[in-house]
């Protein structure tokens, strides 16, 4: 196990910069998730950490050692790929033991370590099978087995669950988290799925356009997003944002809709009013709105309403009979209000 320090790391392809001086500290044994939309540079950053991409500038340290020019095999890290990258002609046991064989470990030692990893991942009965004889979830577990058998200092995961169906993804998510809790190995996990990031990570790094937007614990990011990008990226359905300006005892949107706002925020240079869908409730004292779409999910109901000409999402825990076109009144929970400047940075 080891800590990882990334300091002012830059990456450019020719003249095109893709990572613009990213810095972060990952503690020993921590589970950190890099999350962001496609093209934000999260996979490139992970590949630089793995040594599969050169670093154009900055410094990466693993366990205190600068690894900028160290070959992947000498970094003492293991990576699980999105496509699993299992060797198709080798059995599960051979796949898992390949790295140890290259290290020159004895046959008995390899067998012991493979057996240990197989027990952790419940792969025992599959050791003699070829990858093509396994299901997606089993292949994923073999890929993880191949990583843990080496006892590396750091695990890297590059969107490992994206090829699995929704149900299996939930199961594997829990398995990976459980594995981390047992092994306590420093883990860097890349995903574009914010639910994965929220449920698994000790800390989340939100990236956009080659920059870090915010680093924090999952609920910190949820409760106090640093800007509108993080506010809308974390949480599903996304946070409702209304552009406008503070007015007497409230906030008037560009479309002229009046929204209540506590008096303490009147002085803040708020240009964007944000409220999460679950913090908008149906109440007699609320703002007039019209129901557009009702989506019951069982545990909760998602409702799209029109606030004047603007759309707003609500997530209702209580079962209320609503019909499209029905007039309602919606009220924000003022303690859960998010205010942002015109540039999108948090002001409250």
């Amino acid at each position: 196990m080891a800590s990882v320090t990334i300091q002012q790391v830059r990456k450019q392809y020719g003249a095109v910069p893709v990572i613009h001086g990213v810095s972060m500290d990952i503690e020993d044994g921590e589970f950190v998730t890099l999350v962001g939309p496609s093209g934000c540079g999260k996979s490139t950053l992970l590949r630089m950490l793995a040594g599969l991409e050169d670093i154009s500038g900055g410094e990466i340290r693993i366990g205190g050692r600068v690894v900028n020019d160290v070959a992947p095999k000498e970094r003492d890290i293991a990576m699980v790929f999105q496509s699993y990258a299992l060797y198709p002609h080798m059995t599960v046991a051979e796949n898992m033991g390949f790295a140890l064989k290259l290290k020159g470990e004895g046959k008995a030692a390899i067998e012991k370590r493979v057996r240990e990893a197989a027990d952790i991942l419940a792969l025992g009965p599959l050791l003699d099978r070829l990858p093509k004889q396994l299901s997606g979830g089993q292949r994923q577990r073999v890929a993880m087995g191949r990583a843990i058998v080496r006892h590396p200092q750091v695990f890297l995961f590059d969107e490992p669950l994206s090829n699995l169906d929704a149900k299996l993804r939930v199961t594997m998510r829990a398995e990976i988290k459980d594995l981390h809790q047992r092994l306590k190995t420093t883990t860097v996990y890349v995903t574009h799925d914010q639910i994965e990031a929220m449920t698994m990570a000790d800390r989340i790094v939100v990236m956009r356009g080659g920059n870090v937007e915010q680093i924090g614990k999952p609920l910190e990011l949820y409760d106090r997003p640093a800007n509108t990008f993080v506010a809308t990226f974390i949480g599903s359905p996304a946070m409702n944002l209304f552009e406008g300006s503070p007015a007497d005892e409230g906030f008037v949107t560009r479309d002229g809709v009046f929204l209540p706002m506590p008096g303490d925020y009147q002085g803040a240079a708020a240009a964007i009013y944000g409220i999460r869908p679950e913090h908008l409730v149906i109440a007699e004292s609320g703002v007039p709105a019209t129901v557009v779409v009702v989506e019951p999910t069982g545990s909760e109901t998602h409702v799209l309403v029109k606030l004047g000409p603007s759309d707003a999402n609500l997530v209702l825990r209580d079962r209320i009979d609503l019909e499209p076109g029905q007039p309602v009144r919606v009220a924000p929970d003022l303690a859960k209000l998010h205010l942002f400047s015109a540039q999108g940075t948090r002001v409250n």
């Binding site: 599969l52 095999k73 890290i77 293991a78 496509s83 990258a85 060797y87 390949f98 290259l102």
Partner: protein
Amino acid sequence: MSDLVLSATQMEVKRERSAIGSLRLVQTACILVIALVIVSPLFMLLVASLKDDRFQILADMGSFRAFWVSNPTLSNFAEVGNLSGELAYGRYLLNSLFILACTVGFGLIVNSMAGFVLAWGSLRGRALILSVVIALYVIPQESIIMPLVIMVSRAGMTDTFAVQIVPWVASPLYIFLFYQFFAQLPKELFEAAEMDGASVFRIYRSIFLPLSLPALATVSILMGIEAWNQYLWPILVTQTDYARPIAVAIATFFGQDSIYWDRAMAASVLMMIPILALYLAFQRWFVSSFVGSAVKG
């Protein structure tokens, strides 16, 4: 009314079935004719090799008797199957087999390594080298053969096995074939092996080479046929029986005064057997390789 409709439908189905039947008949006939054109010379060769009178063979050619033997004998094979002496065709056959095995063996190693490095190596000017390799493919063997003869004779290599193997081991066609095969394998396999601690050579040997069975089979067959049928080159670089291949040796039956059809036919049959065996052994991968490349473009 419904009966009428039913019978009309039944008639239509019958008509369709008979049309399909006729089409199949025509298809089968066409296939038979094509098969006959391809197989008949081989069959004639086999039949002639079992006749012991060379004048009779000549007389039978041009008639259906060419496809029939009343008293089959293996005497021609016994005559030409010696390992020494005047008719040491067994020896020439072994020479050819040795040349074939070495050319294919070294060829698979050299061409697959070159293809792998071009596809995955961190070599500078990879694209340029690949363009040169492709450009070299269009140069016919015959156009470089004389300078090559001069080179090998100055190197003192004439009348050896090496001279018949070394110049044909590396081939732009097979390098390109391997390059294409390796290039389509997923990058993650290379990277996973790299993370596992494998060197580039180990990745080639332990991961990419075992996955390239279809390409290995295709190259083995194409290279094998090429090496087996070499005629012009061995004529130019061999003077004695020591390393002479069977393709060249068979030509000696066709003298100025007389042609030994019986022995020539038996030697030709002997010459065909190894290459047919090679094809049959690798046929499954050979076909799948071509199908694969067609589907994946």
